[in-house]
Each structure stands twice: as C-alpha cells, then as structure tokens.
Symmetry: C2
Subunit: 624 residues, 2 copies
C-alpha cells in the first residue's frame, strides 16, 4: 500500500546487535492502519506477556503512521509502546519532528528487543542502522543528551528521542523526550528503554512519502489544512496553547486541586492562567506540518545547557499536576518544575500527582517530618518540587525510593489507609480532568487500556457541545448525566484508536477535522478505499486488542474501577459541587454495549466480529 | 505649544449657522492638557448649568488630544461632553479613526451650541466647516447615515460620527457612533446632538501634527510602541479582545448576572465566552495607531446596508449587559442585539441593564402581561431583546416610553419598590464589573463625575496584582478589603483624567505603559517639560472640575451612594459569595483624603490648591 514504507526495523540489542527488516503486510496495514494499531499487533504477536516489563526479552515498539511525513496537518506523532512497568499494556505519544524523520529514514516503525550491557543509542539513517556507545551520555539530562548526539553525528537535522535519569533508574513514571521537551510521557515507556540500556534513538532521512494519487492527495490535504486554519478553536489554541484551559477548566470544576479534594481554588487559579503565562512566555512553537502551533516556549530556567535560550513550557496538564494539585500557584515555580520533569525524563502528570499524594500523607501524619528528609511537604510549598523530583528520578534516599514509581506503589509500601488517596487507575495516575465535573471522564479513565488517560476518550468535548455526526456522536450530552455516556465513550475509544494509528493529533478534531476528512486524504495517499465505517471497525479492533493484551497480563474488569475519592467524595465548592459520577452504572452499560461479559472480558462473539481470533486465547486465559 | 492645532472650532447652529474659531491659550493647554480636561474647562466657562440638558443654549464639546494623530499608540480617541440628559456632567469616549481626522482637519476640538430647526450635519474639512442638510438621513440607522454621508461627500476617507433613532428621539441612553459601531456610549451624549437636530459630524483633513522635537519624539514613540508590542497582555487582547474577560470575570464573580442577583451562572457563561465568540468572529479590527487591535468584527446580522459584510462585535461590557444581565446565553442573539444598539445609537450597557430591570419587574408582577405589549419579558428570553430595543429607541408605546430613559427614570414612573432594583449611580446604569467582587468598584462608581463608569477608575487591576509605581500605586490590594481603596481610587481618578485628556486608551496601561512613558513622548511633542507630578496635578484639577460642575448642577455627596442591591445583597454562589463592599467607610475616607467636606464638596483649600478659584462658586452654591 502506498504512503507506507512497508518496512519495520528490528533491532536485537546485546553484545553484537542484530538488525533485520520486517516487511509490513498489506493486510496488517489495512486492518491496523499504523501507529498504535500496528504497535499492538506486532507486540501481541511476539511478546510473552508473562515476562517482567524489564525482562531483556521484552520488546518496545516505536511506530509512525501512513500520513506521517505528508502535508496532512497534525500527523507528526509517534507511539512508543510495550509492557508498562505498571504491569499491563503501555503506550505513550508525542509529536514534534522525530516521527517524520523516521518515516523519511525509510521505516514505518522500529521494534527493539534484547538489552545492551552498556549504555548505547540507536542511530537510524536512510535505511541503515547502527548502535553507538552512549557511556558518556548516561546520567545526562534529556536536553544535554539530545544536543550531544546531534553534535557527535555532526548533523543538526538529526532528530532524537531519549530518556533522562528517571528512565535510567527505571522509574515507573519515566518518559521519552524529544525536541527539547516534547514528552511521550505516560505509563513509563522511558523505563523500558532504560532497562535495555538504550539512552536514545536518533534518526535522519531524506526519503519522500510515495503517494497513490499525488494530485488528488494534494487537493485533499490542502482542503483539510484550510479547514483547520479557518476554524474557530484554531485561533484560540494558536494564541494560548493549552494553558488557556486553566481558567476554563477551573470554571467548570474540571481542574483537579489538592489531590482531588477541592472543587475550586479562587486564590490560586489566577496565578496559573493564560494571563499569568504571558509573563513567562518567550515564543510559540509548532510541530511539523501543524497550522495550530499550540506549543509554548519559556526562558530556560536553569540556563543549561548554555546556548539553549528557551525550553518547552508546561501544558495545561502540567500546570495542573505540578500547580493546582500541589496547591502551588506561582507560575515560575511550576515552569521550573515542569522543565525539571522534562530534563529528568519524568511524566509530569504522575510526578505532580505523586507529590500531591506525598503532601497529603504528610498532612495526615502518615509521612512524618523525619521521613521527609529535610523537605517541607506542606501544601503549596513550591520549594519542595525540585528536590522531590530529583530524589524521585534518582531513587535517592527512602523518600525518593518510596515515590519513584508513583502513587499506587507508594501507597502499597506506606499502607495506613493511604490507598484511599492514591488517585490512579491501573496504576496510572489520573490526568488533569475531573470525572466529578464531566461524568464521561470516569468511564473513559476506567476503560482505557494503558490506565487513566487524557488522550483516548476526550469525551468532555461532547459534554461541552461538540458533535461528530459522521461517527454517530450527533448530540451534545449533559455533563452530569449518566445516560448516553456508555455509547459515547465506546464510540470515542474506537475513534481515538483510529486517530492514534493514523498518528493524528486530537487537536485536529478540536479544530474541526472529522474522520471523514482524514479519510479523504488517506484514500489518495494509500490507494485503499476505506469507508468511515471500515476505519471505525479498525478502531474497535485496535481498542479491543489492547484490552486483550491487558487480559493476557492478568487484568480484568476489577481493574476498571475508579478511585474512591472520585466516586464517593463530592466537592463542597465550585461549579461541580455535590456531584459524583455513577461509574458503576455507566460501566455495566458499557460492558453490555461492547459485548463484554460481566468480568469485562470481550465475548467470543465480539472477538470473532472484530477478526481477533488470533488473540482469543488472551480472553480465554482471563476468563479462567 | 506644539502638537496642538491651537484652534477650537465653534459652531452656533440656527437658521444661519455661525462659525468661529477659538484660539486655545497655552496656559489652558498646560493646565488641562486636552480631551476631557479642555472639554470641562471650555464648557465650565460658557455653560449655564441650570439649563435643561436639551435647551438649545446648551453646548456640546467634541475634543481630541495633543498626541492624537501622532504615532504614540492608543491616542486616537475623542471625547464628546456636555450636560447629560441625566442632569449633570456627561461625557463619552470612543476610539477609531475620527479623532485623528479631526486633528488633521486643523482643530483640537469642536464646540457646538444652538440648535437647528431641521436635521443637519456638520462637515469639517481642512480648516473649513459647513452645515449640510440631513433631512433624508433622519430616521436612518448609524451605519446607513455614515455611508450616505461618505457617499454624498464623494470621499471614502471622510470619517463620520453620528446618532441613530435613539438620539433623534432624545433617549437618555443615546450614544454617538462612528466607524460602523465604535460607540461613545454613555451618559446620553447622542441625545444632546439629537436635541440640536445634528445627525452627524463628518471630518476630513490633510494636516500633519507639528512636533517640537521630531527626532526625540520619534525615538520616544518607537520605544513606547515596542513596549506595548512586547507586553504580555497585548497578545491576549490582540487575540481575543475584551470577550476574553467573560470567563475570567465570571471566575472572580465580577460579571453581573440577572440584574446583579446571581454570583455565578455556570449554565450560561460558557455560551458567551471567548471560545463561543470564535464561532461568530469574522476578523479582528484595530483603531488608528494601535498595536493591540482588540476590536472584533462579526457577520452583519441584518445584512443591511447591502455591501456591509461585517459589523463591530460586542465587547465584554455588551456581552454582559445584553447577555448575562438578561440571562441570555446565546452568543448569536447577543451579537444581534448589540448590533441593533449600535444601529439605533443606544448605550448597550444602559439598554441591557434596563431590559434586565424590566424582566425583574415582570417577574415580580410590577410589569404585568398587558404592560408588556406582546413581548414575553421572562428571564432569558432572547427574542425579547430586539423588539424591546426598537421600542426604546423610538419611545414606542407605553413600554418603549417607560424604558427609553433607563432604570432610574423607569423606576420613578413605576414605583412599587422597583427603585430597589434600578441599579445605577447618578442615573447612569452600573457597568459590567461588580463591587461585590472587587470592593474598589463601589468607590470608583460612586465618585465618577458622569455616574457609574467603567473607564475612570479601573482599579480592579490593582486588586488583581497590577502596580503603577510611578504614581504611587506600588502595592496590589486585596479585592475584598476596604483598607487602601480610598487612596487607590483617588490616585486612579486623577490618573484617568490625565489619560482621558491625552485621549489615551486604558488598554495602553494594561499593556504596560505608564504615565512616565506618555510623558516621554509628550515633552518632545509639545516642548513643555511636564513632570509626572505636574501631570497628576492636572489630573486632580480635571477630576475636580468635573465634580464642581456636578455641584453647579445641584449634586452633592448624596449622589455618590451605591444602590442597595450592591451594598446589602451578597451573592449566595460563586467566588465572591457572602461579600458586600463597605462603601460608606471607604467613601468617608475618600472624602477626607480628597479634602472634601462631609457633604462631599471640595473645601476652599482644596479648590485653591488646584487653581480652580474661577469655579469656586460652584462649590459654594452646593454648600448652600
């Protein structure tokens, strides 16, 4: 099929690295699209899911999509996936300039297995690959490592993604960072690279994407681009990026505060909103082929490495996790903490949530002053963030070791009822939108394969007035209701699975693109006449394969539960006061609509419908 | 003094119009600057304040400032002033392209006295003036009249300000409109033009502003311009204009809702915020020599006149007055109502507030169904807005006549306790920021000469963290406290008086300019070495002269009171719940600091200090 390279690079690390090329079958591409879908398929076929996540036999996939490298806006993302340190399916996504460079280097993705005995990095360039020594890079922050690799290779156009100290030290919240701060943050993918002693992946390519019908494709791409550029929300995101959401979400009671205990925080929110952000902004930044350009740059808080004037500024999620969650309202402090997360290679959502958890433990006397190792863990103490993040990334002392793997692991070690305020699903800390403000989030968080996730079912848009008629979401839904939410989340998970396989950015949807639009470019790009329905069927297949992998890892419906704090502790203040989502009711309806059994396991019928018979054993195993 | 034309055009309307030129004395310019200051001085000298506002002997001033027509940003405003139909000092301000054109036509302002027996308009061009017939324009909306005049004069560069049906019908809330929707809206200045049968003022000029030291001036202007352009808030206002304030103000509990009865409205606010506005926006718009460009255009709701694709969209104030105040949350309805206000030449703040007042009267049975003349006056009925506005502008029927002059007049006619929810000060409806959210507004509204005003002391910025150290406002103040507010409002009134005499836009201050910055351009422009202190002394003089004029009109401290609803009905909801400002305490301190007596009348000592002996009789008269 055109627009694919048709090749996956396989790298087996070890004393003598082995390189090979996997030919991508047209049938697999047609059924799993690319990106997330192909990552799942290829890993499902070759992984032993019983293995420890850090077992050298484990495989990590880094995939791009059929529209990556073309002029269709927003398809410059990559997926990094594998068995998460949290014990089940893991995946992380980021945009920037890496994905298109990998595509230009001749591959649709990379599969990495084995492990090196010494630090190395992988360099892929125009159909060739080599493993290079990274000993002198080990221990470096992500920006320094990125710069050093580019310098060593003598090519400023080399694109690099890699890990920081957190990944080296196998923190379960270790991220993969590229483009000086663009984070594939969630579910600990950085630790997988760390376990393989793989510091980074550098790519450089000069290839062009071959298209089925160039002229028709250019017409379609141009039309899509114009649609985004003329869209209302495009202007909003262009000017403010995601920080514009701070006050908007606060208004709805959607931004979590003080470890999900406060429904509003009028004393703190103004210090973190878009107006405050203007005081730290240096410039806007955009990913490849993106007319929105929601990225923000802020002055380099540490001044290192010299010559790096500015760095990636915090997104909405980071402003909330390191700001409102910890009751820190000083934008400069949050900017510095977010920068540190990126340097150390840590997921800012999980890191901020884990610090908020520690602060609550401290307030309740579960963590005592002597446990805090000289750090004042009082709510709102911005001075605590940097030393805590450094300890967590390096597992330093009892405190760093306690917190390095996130709230679930910390609560398991601490006990004393702290489990009640470890706010995660499947071990992944909840992202920064609130099921107590939009009930759909509860179901979305509970049923995403990697754990509580802000990317898979971003259904709160449907609960705020958006519709997507071409996939049947033609009615806005009340944000507090339970009715209709199961169908909405079901459809949205499949839709997202398609987008994450195309590797399309969700913001393209917020700025007006539909699956019909993507299809209009995908057909002339590939030559395959997908219908919207067929694409959605792929979406359901991909979403279900992730679910089946989780079953192979031992997860069942038990793991779809929401934390107590979300379903039984309503807020007293703000515009979402006195409400908790009826997660159980929505979840039962969801299982029914998906044709899953009462344990949340897809029925044989459903597996057959989706053509997933090859992986039926995973469900069988969970059914016991 | 350079940068002034040194000439004021005097026009005496009547059977045979008389034109003359008043030479501006250097001393008057040095002591009153321009704009508001000179308008007050010239009117104070020639007006008999006992006259009815519509008496033909009354005088209307239209003034610009010393920096108008130069490259100093934001000085393209004009002031239209006279004795308000509300019975005291009246003034209204608007920016756009009229002010600089008047300056280029050779004048620093126009004084209009007398009255014409038939509709006319004034055409001023390069030092000449003529009165032209406007019979065929009478009854037209402001856009149509503007276009017709431009066509008649055969010069697309003619700039026009004028009145609509509301001004013709002497509505006390009639505005003056230029540039297809830029409104000098408040205190009924449009009715003064209407009472003189003066439909419009058209200007065209080719003159250049003569500067004292061109090179030094250009350096200063460039520096100021760069300062604004690099300012944080500039970006925010550029992208969203004032609609960005809807959700921000709602968050603070600062946007009035349901005639000042609700502290928050989570069901309605999202429909009116900056995101919703994007769905109606056609393009941004900027006044002359402004790097901010906060103006918004929206598609022409009526499609008339043909060829006018888009019109001025609602500002924050209008979104609140016609939206939240009336419980209407549909942006398209508010856009259409605001457009109608501009066409009819009505102050949208007073109009929206008056409709909200009528809705409350209807809810309480004071206005009955039979009084409503077929209009459903229920809260939130967007369909009521357009017919009500049309009735009010034309005084049609009992309802139109009841509401045409605003809430104070309507409550006086209705009685039955309706005075309690007629929310005005000195007859001018409160603008759309809430003294129950920022206590400074109470004092600012109470002590502004034209009545409750959102331009004179915009002190809520100081209560939100801004400082202006060069005029002594070096500490942000708590928004609910009373302490420090008297000194803050005192300083701010004087500062605003300077700005409104320079005719500088307040948004230049929000985007970083200080009085020191304006001074740096004013000195090379004029050749006069003002200090910041001397400018502030002018500000105090100007502010006090307005106060003295009010005393001449019969007002005293009694008229500084706040409506009951503001000082004794706290909100139950939102982030300003359970608070009312302690207006009386702040006001007493304010009188002391200003050296006013207990009746709020400036003492002889204060009058002498400010060099206002010429007008001391006004205070004497009020002291009785």
């Amino acid at each position: 099929m055109k627009s694919y390279n048709g090749k996956i690079l396989e790298v087996e690390l070890g004393e003598a690295p082995v390189f090979s090329t996997l030919e991508l079958s047209e049938e697999d591409a047609a059924r799993y699209i690319g990106g997330l879908g192909l990552a799942e398929l290829l890993l499902a076929r070759r992984m032993d899911w019983d293995l420890d996540p850090f077992d050298p036999r484990g495989v990590v996939a880094i995939m791009v999509g059929p529209l990556t490298g073309t002029e269709v806006p927003g398809c410059s993302r990559y997926v990094v996936a594998g068995k998460s340190p949290l014990g089940h399916w893991g995946e992380a996504h980021a945009a920037g300039y890496f994905a298109s460079e990998l595509k230009a280097a001749g591959y649709d993705g990379i599969l990495i297995s084995g492990a090196s005995s010494r630090p190395v990095y992988l360099y892929v360039h125009d159909g060739e690959a080599e493993i290079r020594d990274a000993s002198r890079l080990w221990g470096l922050g992500t920006y320094e490592a990125e710069a050093a690799i580019r310098e060593e290779l003598g090519d400023p156009k080399v694109r690099v993604i890699g890990i920081g100290p957190a990944g080296e030290n196998l923190s379960h919240m270790a991220s993969v960072i590229g483009d000086e701060g663009r984070a594939a943050a969630r579910s600990g993918m950085g630790a997988l690279l760390g376990s393989k002693n793989l510091k980074a992946v550098a790519v450089r390519g000069r290839g062009k994407v071959a298209l089925h019908d160039e002229e028709a494709f250019r017409r379609a791409a141009k039309e899509i681009l114009e649609k985004v550029k003329s869209n209302a929300t495009c202007g909003l995101l262009k000017q403010h990026g995601t920080p514009v959401n701070v006050m908007i979400c606060a208004y709805f009671g959607d931004i979590p505060i003080k470890n999900w205990r406060l429904g509003d925080w009028p004393e703190g929110i103004p210090g973190l909103n878009a107006e405050a952000y203007q005081t730290v902004l240096t410039r806007n930044w955009h990913c490849r082929a993106c007319p929105v350009g929601c990225g923000r740059k802020v002055a380099n808080p540490l001044g290192e490495p010299p010559g790096l004037a500015d760095v990636t500024g915090p997104e909405y999620e980071c402003l909330a996790a390191l700001g409102t969650m910890c009751m820190v309202s000083d934008i400069k402090t949050v900017v510095a903490a977010n920068d540190l997360c990126n340097r150390l290679g840590m997921d800012a959502i999980s890191a901020g949530t884990t610090i908020a958890f520690a602060m609550e433990c401290y307030e309740r006397g579960i963590l005592k002053e002597e446990d805090a190792e000289g750090i004042d863990l009082s709510w709102g103490n911005g001075d605590a963030l940097a030393p805590l993040l450094r300890k967590m990334a390096s597992r330093e002392g009892r405190l760093g070791s306690l917190l390095a793997d996130g709230t679930r692991a910390a609560a398991e070690k601490l006990g004393q009822g702290s489990e009640r305020f470890a706010v995660h699903c499947k071990g992944l800390e909840l992202p920064m939108h609130d099921p107590k403000a939009f009930s759909g989030w509860a179901l979305a968080y509970g049923t995403t394969n990697r754990g509580a996730c802000h990317l898979s079912a971003t259904t709160y848009n449907i609960e705020r007035g958006m519709t997507l008629p071409d996939i049947g979401l033609d009615q806005p839904l009340d944000r507090f209701a339970s009715e209709g939410k199961a169908a909405m989340v079901k459809t949205y998970h499949a839709f997202s699975a398609v987008l994450e396989s195309l590797v399309a950015c969700k913001f393209m949807v917020y700025t007006g693109l539909t699956l019909t639009d993507f299809r209009s470019a995908l057909i002339p790009a590939t030559g395959k006449e997908w219908t919207v329905e067929e694409l959605m069927e792929c979406g359901y297949r991909i979403y279900h394969l992730g679910r089946l992998i989780n079953h192979a890892c031992g997860l069942t419906g038990e793991d779809d539960r929401m934390p107590e704090r979300i379903v039984s502790e309503p807020y007293q203040e703000g515009n979402a006061a006195n409400f908790v989502p009826d997660h159980q009711t929505m979840l039962e309806e969801y299982y029914r609509l998906q044709k899953w059994d009462e344990k949340g396991i897809p029925t044989e019928e459903r597996i057959r419908e989706l053509g997933l018979e090859e992986f039926a054993w995973m469900a069988e195993r969970a059914r016991g």
